[in-house]
Assembly symmetry: C2
Homo-oligomer: 340 residues x 2
């Protein structure tokens, strides 16, 4: 019999918890029989939600967490004090190998801190980057790092490039993924101090497919598979992506409602348009993994619905099956920078 | 009689030079009789283009520039060597007060270097920021800095906030413009080292309307009038804005052509949609001023058409009339940082 992949899910994190978290877990359990899911949170609330669905047998198990970390709480303090919160309990399960992965739509700060402090880094990994998939015209790109480590150093970015390549190659099945560094011009001499220092290191890194600089303008069209940047810049890219998309969509809707003529047209256009724009919906790809940890931690959007939760859980199975952490462990130790 | 505002225009810079540059100048001269325009570049080519339009009398004058700086040339070297290029000649006219302003769609690097080296900074201004207007759902915001000074310091960002406020208040007529700093969270303790250092300085700055942090997600909806950031981040924001918009638009178009039904709808929707999306067209606001110089230098998009050139020239008139540089000079000297 195939080994079960054990995924702990934070039932309390996110705008639509616990309903959508529970639904996402139930859907994942239906799709794959080789997953065991631990729903962590207020037992009573979770059980009530679970009662809406047919019995999952032993595939889903509830673990009571009396405490909850709020989004506004200072993360370090929250992780330290709320030992009985769903986030801390879930992280501890990963640390103690009781779970292979932990999925949460809760406080980003707490998840990032918990990942580092509780789950811990793979030996040799300097910083664990948060690496969401972002939609492009060609499919999807990995944006790494996106919020875990501001003011990163060049050696961190080089590790991000390697870990991102391993992830894209094995989880997304992109052969020889193109790695680019976010820059403000295409030429090698362009950039800030960090990019100028990192560029030659990436260029000389033996087994990544480094294609040079990428200007932010070329990200949405899908010019690279792994987009390396420092976390502040990555966070700006991720959020602006969402912001411009949302504003643009509302302008399109507004434009369609402008005249009687356009309203009639909108009815005809809507189904096809919806289908095309779905390609630009990040939720279908699951959450963002925090890479380089002794286990897997996945952060989903705060606004996650069941579908994103389901996809994130299934993403954990691929991560385990493809032995991503073993590959990171085997590759990151051999750094061309420190010559270890 | 009102004093003429003298604007030097680089007739050779940009993808559609000299045709669109010349047309833009002719249109501006028709709209405003108080502008004198110097078209700088290959005399023969410009004269040929000018011949397409009715005689402008003495309002437009051609100045021959035998050399041209290419976009790919290293900027510092280009400015130093090509003394007879349209960019160097134009900058020199501003320096020598023969022109109030210089407008160019040419090499960004050369324009930024030329502005600092040839035109020179206003005394007290540490760095001259490039400050384009970006479209938002509410109108337009000033993104400052956007490419002139990577790896800026906190004191630079504070000056950007002040210069940006003066510009928005006087050129765009925004009363008490809201100033925000680009950050990766709303809370004061969030951010990288630069933002954390700058935040309290902006908070305590006496006469700007500082509203705190802005997440990139909230930029397109128009949550602030002056958006302060370091140039690398600003450049990423500006270019991603264009990139996401373009990809999104192409997806909308593609979606509309998907089925027979949607094609019929597209015909009905198109006119109203076009009108609404025009609000998101940056070219109607003119180019990006390089603020804090002894004169005015305006960088327009490399892809500028006549309309953007015309609007940029007219923007120079407002800049002069509103005495922006006098206001910057009067305000930047009194810095709360160094207590001068």
């Amino acid at each position: 019999m195939q080994e079960m992949v054990k995924v702990a899910v934070d039932a309390m994190g996110g705008d639509f918890a616990p309903a959508e978290m529970v639904k996402g877990a139930v859907d994942a359990a239906m799709l794959r029989k080789d997953i065991k899911i631990y729903l962590i949170g207020q037992q009573e609330l979770i059980t009530k939600e679970l009662a809406k669905y047919s019995d999952q047998g032993t595939q889903i198990q509830v673990i009571h967490a009396p405490e909850k970390i709020e989004t506004a709480e200072p993360p370090v303090m929250a992780i330290r004090k709320k030992k009985q919160s769903s986030i801390v309990l879930g992280m501890n399960m990963v640390k103690e190998k009781k779970a292979d992965a932990f999925v949460s739509a809760g406080s980003s700060g707490a998840i990032l801190v918990g990942g580092q402090v509780i789950v811990g880094r793979i030996k040799g990994v300097e910083r664990p980057p948060l690496a969401p998939l972002i939609p492009t015209a060609q499919g999807v790109s990995l944006l790494i790092d996106c919020g875990a480590n501001v003011d990163a150093r060049a050696s961190h970015l080089v590790q991000f490039a390697k870990m991102g390549s391993i992830y894209m190659e094995n989880v997304l099945q992109v052969k020889n993924p193109r790695v680019a560094i976010v820059n403000i011009g295409a030429e090698e001499e362009k950039g800030n101090a960090l990019v100028k220092e990192t560029f030659p290191l990436l260029k000389n890194y033996p087994d990544i497919n480094f294609v040079g600089s990428i200007e932010a303008r070329d990200i949405p069209s899908g010019q690279a598979d792994v987009i390396v940047c420092e976390a502040f810049v990555g966070n700006v890219i991720l959020k602006l992506y969402e912001g411009v998309g949302a504003t643009f969509l509302s302008l399109v809707k507004q434009g369609m409602m402008e005249t009687v003529r356009s309203k009639a047209g909108a009815l005809l256009v809507k189904p096809a348009l919806k289908k095309t724009l779905k390609a630009f919906d990040a939720s279908q790809y699951g959450g963002a993994p925090l890479l380089g940890l002794n286990g897997l931690v996945v952060k989903t959007h705060g606004s996650s619905k069941a579908k994103e939760v389901t996809n994130s859980i299934i993403q954990c199975v691929t991560f385990k099956e493809q032995e991503i952490n073993e590959k990171i462990r085997a590759n990151i130790g051999i750094s061309p920078i420190d010559g270890e």
